[in-house]
Symmetry: C2
Subunit: 77 residues, 2 copies
């Protein structure tokens, strides 16, 4: 599970920094509350939380993948 | 149509540069052949063309949106 989560999360680094420590003006994901993370991804998927990139990007993730990511980032110090 | 395409394409700028002129090490999209663009997006969607970010991101776009983007970027000098 963990190896898979880290691999999945590696894509986020492109905009959100290594292990979610953003240096590019995007939100940091490191240490985010799991439920908050899942909720925001769902809001992006439905478009209720507007974002040019995330509204599309979030749609590429399954529920399980989002939970894995939420778990991974909540553990990042 | 055009206004919509430009708005849609604004999201790509985050990684592919303004009007697809990449400065961030990602591929430039400006001037790409329309059919090639559509084909690559489909390969990303099916995972036949592997990419941590695009394999997810491409899934957020409908066929029409991809055609609009293909048209938009093919016209960028």
């Amino acid at each position: 599970q963990e190896r898979n989560a880290a691999l999945l999360a590696s894509a986020c680094a492109a905009c959100h920094g290594t292990n979610g420590h953003s240096v590019a003006g995007t939100p940091s994901l490191a240490g985010l509350d799991k439920m908050y993370f899942v909720e925001q991804m769902q809001l992006f998927q439905t478009g209720q939380r507007p974002s040019t990139v995330m509204m599309k990007h979030a749609k590429g993730y399954s529920e399980d993948e989002i939970r894995l990511l939420a778990e991974f980032f909540s553990q990042q110090k």
